[in-house]
């Protein structure tokens, strides 16, 4: 009897346990769905070979040539998949992404940090069958340095390169020497996608060469076809040096219109859907019954929105005024109402999860009283009683320049105007198209503006945005000038040790926070959806590694 009761108890307990586990699992699934995280089970299980992965992209890249074009779609489609670099970001080590070997098996940095030696992998072949060697690395760098080639986005990384060559008598060792130690010089060279020397030799300015639209690399996938305006496809490279890809083919379909794209997603046309609209991600997926058939992904790449005040204008020269403007904006309300709460607040110039950011710097709260006090202290008071603050007879009246296409700014700008009007600051709004906008911002012909900076790597140099020398030619468009920040940036450039450099960047972050040249706003997530059957997917700043992806047979 006792034994029977005991057994019964055990059975009941087991039932309770499984019930509890099931409830916990569904709560987990619910949390994953809400946050846009992929469950661990997605990367577990036995991979199977074969199948086609169909990916939706919203815009066709101008070419498939990373040497002449910097479109993000090119980076996504090609890097790590079709073309490879000597080293690559270790996608499993979020958020600092150290380098791991790829086409190079190992490397050394000289003690003076001026010379880098890469030992290359042997037995690698290009997609066209030619063997890979250090000559390809040298040819790629030379092509980028060629003034007749449209490769500005890469060339500056090699500004201090003295010389690059293969070691005498050894085509599988590449030595690069630099004039100055620079932390990004190593990372830029190590992660530079390598192209085949024998094709570069005949490619001229690249624009008219076959490889411009039909890339040849060493990666796990090789280029198959490009039907203009429709689709670009890649197939598995059966001669890949590493573990061969599971997928047979990857097809990128260009669907520009979001409503059409979503309709096709509902019809089951895509395995991986890139770039959902916030409403689609938040509401429509669930409302149209796609929950359960697809998983939501929300991932943050290094980027942030900012509002910048042109310090060449007298209004914005005083840090107290810039802080006041920051206190005048209820960034949390803006995030919740205009951005559906999907973006994440940041006060940092670097990737929001990176060690270069100081998490103790919280966004400034909404505090109009404090803003008014700061304006007063800076001498901006309403002396003539016309409702607008003034100083030395100049009313505080400025123009906010914005890109007319921006949905977010179309909501933010009127809000800003309203909030500032309450504080006695008159703001006008000027909308221009993107081409004119970039020109005006580049020439510093604006009072205040807003933009988003983005980067494809977590490691980056704040030099061109914040160093005072970059006011003229670089991207220091707000003309921020602070000798302390300049000194920190310069020191960081020559510091190859990551921990030490991040320490310097946190100090810089503190100064930027106090000086408030920008109102740092938010980091925008990428909002994607993936079919349930897709496995092995891992979002990272290096985008998705399709080499590890397989399709579940269930």
């Amino acid at each position: 009897m006792t034994r029977a009761a005991c057994r019964l108890a055990i059975v009941l307990l087991a039932v309770a346990c499984t019930r509890g586990a099931a409830a916990a699992a569904s709560a987990d699934a619910e949390a994953d769905w809400r946050e846009g995280l992929l469950p661990a089970s997605v990367t577990q299980g036995e991979p199977s070979r074969g199948g086609t992965l169909v990916v939706r992209i919203d815009q066709e890249p101008p070419s498939l040539d990373g040497i002449t074009d910097s479109a993000l779609a090119i980076v996504w489609m090609l890097e790590r998949k079709v073309v490879e670099s000597m080293a690559r970001l270790d996608a499993k080590k979020h958020p600092d992404y150290p380098l791991e070997p790829a086409l190079a098996t190992s490397w050394e940095i000289s003690p003076d940090q001026l010379s880098f030696t890469f030992h290359l992998r042997r037995g690698v072949v290009w997609h066209d069958g030619a063997p890979f060697s250090g000559k390809d690395v040298v040819a790629t760098v030379k092509k980028i340095l060629d003034p007749g080639v449209r490769s500005l986005h890469l060339r500056n990384n090699f500004a201090d390169l003295a010389d690059i060559a293969t070691a005498p008598g050894d085509d599988f060792t590449v030595v690069a020497r630099y004039r100055k130690p620079y932390f990004l010089a190593f990372r830029a060279l190590a992660t530079l996608p390598i192209y085949p020397a024998h094709l570069l030799a005949q490619a001229g300015d690249m624009l008219h060469a076959k490889v411009h639209r039909a890339p040849v690399g060493t990666g796990p996938f090789r280029f198959e076809a490009w039907k203009s305006g429709d689709r670009i496809s890649f197939v598995r490279n059966e001669r890949y040096w590493g573990r061969k890809a599971w997928l047979e083919r990857v097809v990128y379909r260009v669907v520009a219109d979001p409503a059409v794209g979503f309709q096709l997603l509902k019809q089951g046309e895509f395995d991986l859907y890139l770039g959902l609209q916030p409403q689609q991600w938040l509401r429509d997926l669930e409302a149209t019954g796609l929950k359960g058939r697809v998983r939501r992904i929300r991932f943050f790449n290094p980027n942030y929105n900012w509002i910048g005040w042109n310090e060449e204008r007298g209004f914005f020269a005083d840090a107290r005024v810039r802080q006041a403007l920051n206190y005048a904006i209820d960034t949390e309300a803006v995030r919740k109402t205009f951005l559906f709460g999907l973006d994440r607040p940041t006060t940092c110039h670097f990737y929001l999860e990176s060690s270069a950011c100081d998490p103790s710097l919280a966004p400034r709260p909404y505090d109009p009283a404090r803003a008014a006090k700061l304006f007063d202290e800076a001498g901006w008071q309403d002396h003539d009683g016309d409702g607008i603050r003034d100083k030395d007879g100049v009313p505080f009246r400025f123009t906010f320049l914005m890109n007319a296409d921006s949905v977010f700014l179309a909501k933010l700008a009127p809000y800003l105007q309203q909030e500032l009007a309450k504080l006695g600051v008159a703001m006008e709004i000027r909308k221009v198209d993107w081409a004119l906008f970039t020109q005006l911002v580049g020439e510093h012909r604006f009072d205040a503006t807003s933009l988003r900076w983005g980067n494809s790597d977590v490691a980056q140099d704040p030099y061109e945005i914040w160093h005072s020398s970059q006011m003229k030619d670089g991207s220091n468009v707000v003309s921020f000038k602070d000798p302390r920040v300049d000194a920190l940036i310069e020191e960081a450039r020559a510091t190859l040790d990551d921990a030490r450099r991040n320490e310097l960047y946190r100090k810089m972050g503190r100064l930027l926070y106090d000086e408030a040249p920008y109102v740092f706003l938010y980091s925008r997530p990428s909002l994607d959806a993936v079919r349930e059957r897709v496995r092995g997917l891992r979002p990272s700043v290096a985008w998705y590694d399709l080499q590890d992806v397989w399709l579940s047979r269930k």
């Binding site: 002449t68 309709q263 081409a435």
Partner: protein, 311 residues
């Protein structure tokens, strides 16, 4: 004809080059990247793109290349403009010619029927329908058609792996509906009013007086005379055949002239804009020529020979 093309392209070139916004800055990419462009490098880009020369010199150079059949290469992707046009124009013609035919085939009977009994129930319901169609915004109609489960494909020209004719036709259905409904409304109302004008003329009264049936009066007397205004309309809309439809092309993913031109304008891609404008100029001139020929065919009083115009 040459004058038309010259005038159109000169104006377009000046506007394209003088427009604010810098294709070089767009290429240089205002991004947070490890290295952005220096001023010197941007200057070098300008030289590579031919943007450093004076506008007039640039136009003459463009014209000289045009005469030799070379439209230059796109700033955006470096491909020859001629091959970009060669890819986009067939797609556009595939849409525009059938939609033009559908437009006239539906509108002409509707216009005749309306004019035959002005104020009758058929005329009034056709008028209501025409105004309804004319006021439906294209973007909205296209999106309704996309979301409506009609079973027709909503993207591209072909399904994956097939190039069969039925498949192509199925892909054309929804874009053609979008492109035709508005023109049916316009053309039918246009024809109706010009028919009614003719019906008031003396020769129509004469025809009725001599005892012709109403059908004969309308089809053999009033209609041919009304055609003249329809030909004018045709000549005016002809250039649109080659210029594409931005909204429809974008929604249904059809890489035609509209998409090409629109993106080129946004990207300040001068060679592509100029190629599209030159094509448009030729189409305009061609449209005028064709409508002149049609006038002569439709109206014996108009002669193609010089100096023999009726006194």
């Amino acid at each position: 004809m040459t004058t038309t093309v010259l005038g159109v392209t000169l104006v377009a070139f000046v506007v394209a080059r003088a427009a604010p916004g810098d294709p070089v800055a767009l290429q240089g990419d205002l991004g947070l990247r490890a290295g952005s462009a220096s001023v010197q490098q941007l200057r070098e880009y300008r030289r590579l793109m031919g943007l450093d020369e004076p506008i007039l010199a640039g136009y003459l150079r463009w014209l000289w290349h045009l005469v030799r059949g070379d439209l230059g290469t796109s700033f955006r992707d470096g491909r020859p403009v001629l091959s970009l046009l060669g890819e986009a124009l067939p797609v556009t013609l595939l849409l525009s010619i059938p939609s033009l035919l559908i437009g006239y085939l539906l509108a002409v009977p509707a216009g005749i029927v309306s004019a035959a009994r002005p104020g009758g129930w058929l005329d009034r319901s056709l008028a209501t329908l025409a105004f309804l169609l004319h006021s439906l915004p294209l973007q909205w109609v296209a999106l309704v058609l996309v979301v409506w489960p009609a079973g027709f494909p909503i993207q591209g020209l072909h399904s994956e792996g097939t190039t069969s004719l039925p498949d192509l036709l199925a892909h054309l259905v929804l874009p053609l509906v979008c492109l035709s409904y508005g023109s049916v409304a316009v053309i039918s109302r246009f024809l109706r009013s010009s028919m009614l004008e003719q019906m008031r003329q003396d020769y129509v009264r004469t025809a009725r007086a001599k005892g012709l049936s109403e059908a004969a009066v309308i089809l053999r007397h009033a209609l041919p005379n009304s055609l003249l205004s329809l030909i004018t309309l045709f000549g005016l809309t002809f250039p649109a055949l080659a210029s594409g439809a931005v909204i429809v092309e974008r929604i249904f993913g059809l890489p035609g002239m509209g998409k090409l031109t629109f993106e080129a304008v946004l990207g300040r891609d001068v060679p592509v804009v100029m190629g599209a404008v030159a094509l448009g100029g030729v189409a305009t001139a061609l449209g005028t020529l064709i409508s002149d020929l049609l006038y002569a065919a439709a109206d014996p009083r108009i002669s193609l020979e010089e100096g023999r115009a009726p006194r």
